[in-house]
Amino acid sequence: MSASTKMPRSSAPKPRPRELPQTDGRESGKATSPPEKTRRAASTPFLLDFVPLQAPDQTRLAQFYERLKEGHLSTTRCRNCGAIHWPPRVACPDCHAEDLEWIDLPSTGRIYAFSAVLAGAPLGMESEVPFAVGLVDLEGAPLRVFGRIDGRPWNELKIGDTVRVESLTLPDGRVFYRFHTPE
């Protein structure tokens, strides 16, 4: 799973890294976790934190997060049947082969549907309310991706709006992706 194949990219700028404020309310993550590692202090609870553990000793998809740190949203493609997966996988659901390769995905897409969380947010996300979420059809790839939509407020979004993939870094070094409206 080492070869990288670039998908045709749109002319939009590549995803920008952005610092994400500490959202999980834990103090220990800051002090004990080196920024380049996702391994956490043994006493740090992680089971109420949705952002996955990302190090190679925790997941076989560590490369997804490594590529995201470089600003690329990526996924797996099956070398046997050519299927492009979302989210990335370790075995193909179509032909059941395990010979997959990484490909970068386009960095822009259009909103298929969206809503907003105005109440009832999970732990650590209460202070971010209201926030928009939506399903986005990536430009030039046969994939729909769900994610947070930052930027313009939810009541100024429209179906069909273009959004850009953005990578975010947590204080403990983990990364995740979101969408962002154009400035």
């Binding site: 109420l48 949705f50 952002v51 996955p52 979302w86 989210p87 549907a113 969206f114 809503s115 907003a116 969380v117 105005l118 109440a119 009832g120 947010a121 999970p122 732990l123 650590g124 996300m125 209460e126 971010e128 926030f131 979420v133 939506g134 399903l135 994939l143 729909r144 991706v145 769900f146 994610g147 947070r148 939810w154 009541n155 179906i159 995740f176 979101r178």
Partner: protein, 395 residues
Amino acid sequence: MSAVRKVAIVAGATTPFGVRPTTWSEMAQEVGAALFRAEPELRSEDVDSLFVGAAEPERFAFQTHVAPLAAEQMGLAPHRIIQRTELACASGQSAIRSAYAAIAAGLSDVAVAVGIEKMNLPSMAEANTAMGCVMDRAWDGPHGATAPPFFAMVAQRHMLEYGTTEEQMAAVSAKNHRFANTNPHAQFYSKTFDTAKLARLPMVAPPLRLGDCSSMTDGAAAVVLAAEDHVSRYTDAPAWIRGSGQYSDFHNLAHAGSLTDWKGLTRATHEALASAKLTIHDIDVAELHDCFSISEIVEYEAMGWCPPGAGGKFALDGRSDIGGDVVVNPRGGLLGCGHPLGATGIAQAVEIFQQLSHDVPPARQAPDPRYGLVHNLSGSANVHSIMIYEGGGAG
């Protein structure tokens, strides 16, 4: 293996649903007491098997290994099959389907299917986190996904594609809340909501308002299922299982397709109707999974009561009310009763059992029903589960 045996629900009971000052285990005791009160002929030693529908006791009650705990709390000592069934919001019907399969196969004669969920916690952010775990936690959870924004997107697309209105969604909620006013165990038994009041409630996940969403609810429900040669010991008005169907479409939100065409529900409905040798128009009373008002609208369409896009009008025109094509959610639905995840599917079955034996208040009794249907869905409409029942001594 002997031939498949006929199976019926012969008794049922629920606890009050709501924000309850009680624990998971205490509700297990309550529903056990209620079940034995509802069926005086039932003896603990009759119950050879127990199926416990519980979605997230680990999260909400910090408790796993709940099947033997429930048995002990209910005063049961199952000696054939004891297990938990977990299918998020459809854990309850999953318990019933498992009991049905066991009895039909001859592995059990008399089984209890119970659903119990404790959801209200001092910190509701913890409870909302548990709801987030129903989604694909690695890919959907980090974005803050829970059920409301998903079903809000269903509503948004339905409004865009078919012109469905907030007024039509409110008509579903107003109907189910009106029925809940006949059900003393409903979370909103003593609260009235007309469409004007519903339109003034705050948005939770636009375009869904508070009254379009079912609640976080504590509650429990139980039914007794019996093999054909054990039914008459308990009742002369059983609810015979006539058909069953289930279909699992997807899990990750990105794979939800058009959002408005619930193909999995259509397939599960066809399977259930085919196994019962019925059409959807034979169904007199139905408990549909109205976790959100828009859900019930899409369900009318996917299950074949009306064409795609006509579900909003179907509700507004009263065709899912008493006097319409089919009476939908007469106990008050999830919108009126609340939605204690594992208990919902069982409480739906209790209502159909009581509807078919004319054992509900007249204000919500479907006129002389013969066939009843329960639809219980899970997560973001990921799994659809259907049961079809026939009333009377038609075994």
